[in-house]
């Protein structure tokens, strides 16, 4: 197993980031589309210049072909003129493995990704999920020291995404890997460590449990699918900038900066002067934006946010006054700096 450290500087695409992955661990690079994640991976793989990469402390070769860093790209990039088997055997063949042996290896990898028997097909005869699995098998068959997966579940339908997600989770154990995603679910499912990328820079990094459960910036919290409430500790409560006090558990001593991270679905929305449950703490806010998210709508306020039913969101307009109800007794943590 290999330790990876990379300093990535691709000024043309605004990327300036340092990435480190300990041997056998999976780093999830979390960021919105266009934040530079793909560029960072391409640079680490050596197909875009701009990354100083060390593997186990030694500088990696300049040429991509000598780096032994595998890259699964979002478009699969299967070779259309070859059979599926020859696609997977391409890495071993490039290393000089004899044809028959390489094909046997390819078949073994196809079996591991659940595609036994499809070796004779052409890439264009595969479904999206099958093609992605072939691409994964092809990357692994080359025996990379580090594996880079760029949005491995993007562009797949729900069923295929779920199959591939299960497969990748199994294959990544014991492999040094970086996985990019914009989806907090993938981060929760796959990450040992998480680095949050915003506009080409790493804004937060650390163990997954730390970064995902205790984000320090609103941006990182949003990427982790959390609502960050920041404030100052005042005797067992978090005092928000508007003066509202939210009773919390734990947290640093009085006067220290602290935060709680809430699931947006756990936050309730109430309008106007309607009766409000005393079980929650109510924060007066106004609607900054509405953003559809699957079955629910994210109501983004200036301080808080919540995921609500579209029927509720339908009554809201930008700048409308709104109350966010947050639960009492959430775990607070210190914000430093």
């Amino acid at each position: 197993m290999t330790a990876l450290a990379a300093d990535v500087r691709v000024p043309a695409r605004g990327v300036d980031a340092s990435l480190e992955v300990a041997p056998g661990r999976t780093l999830v690079l979390l960021g919105p589309n266009g934040s530079g994640k793909s560029t960072a991976l391409e640079a680490v793989a050596g197909i875009v210049p701009g990354a100083a990469v060390t593997l186990d402390g030694a500088a990696a070769p300049r040429a991509a072909r000598d780096r032994r860093i595998g890259l699964l790209s979002q478009d699969d990039a299967l070779f259309p003129a070859m059979s599926v088997r020859d696609n997977v055997a391409f890495g071993p063949r490039s290393r000089g493995v004899a044809r028959a042996e390489a094909r046997a290896e390819a078949d073994a990898w196809l079996a591991r990704v659940g595609l036994s028997g499809l070796g004779d097909r052409r890439p264009r005869e595969l479904s999206g999920g099958q093609a992605r699995r072939v691409a994964i098998a092809r990357a692994l068959a080359a025996r990379p020291r580090v594996l880079l997966l760029d949005e491995p579940f993007a562009g797949l339908d729900v069923g295929a995404a779920s199959t591939v997600r299960g497969l990748v989770a199994g294959l990544l154990s014991g492999v040094t890997a970086i996985v990019t995603t914009h989806d907090a679910l993938d981060a929760h499912a796959l990450a040992d460590d998480v680095a949050v990328m915003e506009a080409g820079r790493i804004v937060e990094a650390g163990p997954a449990a730390e970064v995902l459960a205790r984000p320090r910036t609103a941006f990182a919290a949003r990427m982790a699918a959390r609502v960050l409430l920041e404030g100052t500790m005042r005797g067992g409560a978090l005092e928000l900038s508007g003066g509202t006090r939210v009773p919390v558990t734990g947290g640093p001593g009085a006067g220290a900066r602290a935060a709680i991270a809430l699931r947006p679905a756990a936050v309730t929305v109430s309008l106007g002067d309607a009766p409000r449950s005393p079980a929650l703490v109510w924060i007066a806010d106004e609607v900054a934006g509405l953003e559809p998210r699957g079955d629910e709508v994210r109501v983004q306020g200036t301080v808080c946010a919540a995921d609500v039913d579209p029927a509720v969101a339908g009554a809201l307009a930008a700048r409308a006054p709104v109350w966010f109800g947050v639960p009492r007794g959430e775990a607070a943590y210190a914000l430093t700096g």
Partner: protein
Amino acid sequence: MTGPRWLAPLAALGGLLVALPLVGLIARVPWSRFVALVTSEDALTALGLSLRTSLAATVLTVTLGVPLGFALRALTGALRGVVRALVLAPLVLPPVVGGLALLYAFGRRGLLGETVGGSLAFTTAAVVIAQTFVAMPFMVVSVESALAATTGRREAIAATLGASPTRVLARVTLPTLAPALATGAVLAFARALGEFGATLTFAGSLAGVTRTAPLDIYLLRETDPEAAAALSLVLVAVAIGVVALAYRPVRSAS
């Protein structure tokens, strides 16, 4: 998409302009003697020479034109435009100008000097060079435009899998270029087969050595215009067949 009606008479006129000369040619062919004329020793010698030299020129065109297409693609900005124009020039040069240019480069008093020029003068190799000179642009254009349509993504991934640049070229790039290569090769072959002016100016005209079918037709007009028409028809048939082959609609297979 048929366009406004007034296009139709112009289209008919354009069609006539192209079709009438062919009809005129066919009308002059002495059908009773046709087989005898096109299988005469002279005709077969010329056609055989044309076939051999055109095939050799096509092989040269692939061997040199494909790398040239890659090189062109590797250039950027204004330089690419300039180099492309240079490489494509033989396409639009008057054939005699092409022949003169070849003479000044590969002739006995050309840039490469007496040793090279003297060994090429009036040889079949000179014919092949002239044909390659005029046929090359088809291959270069074909390859360059096909390369422009690829993202280079598969090549990059192939490199991460440990493939050498040669292996990437052979196993990944060339297979995707295959349709473009085929089209380029067929058009190059057709162009080589029709080459006349540069050959006449540069290589000369001697039966079995440098007198290809077009040169033979040109000479035949003196003595036997009907035989010239018959041999012309053979070349027309080959040209139409080859172009039909090269431009047949390709099923999408990307």
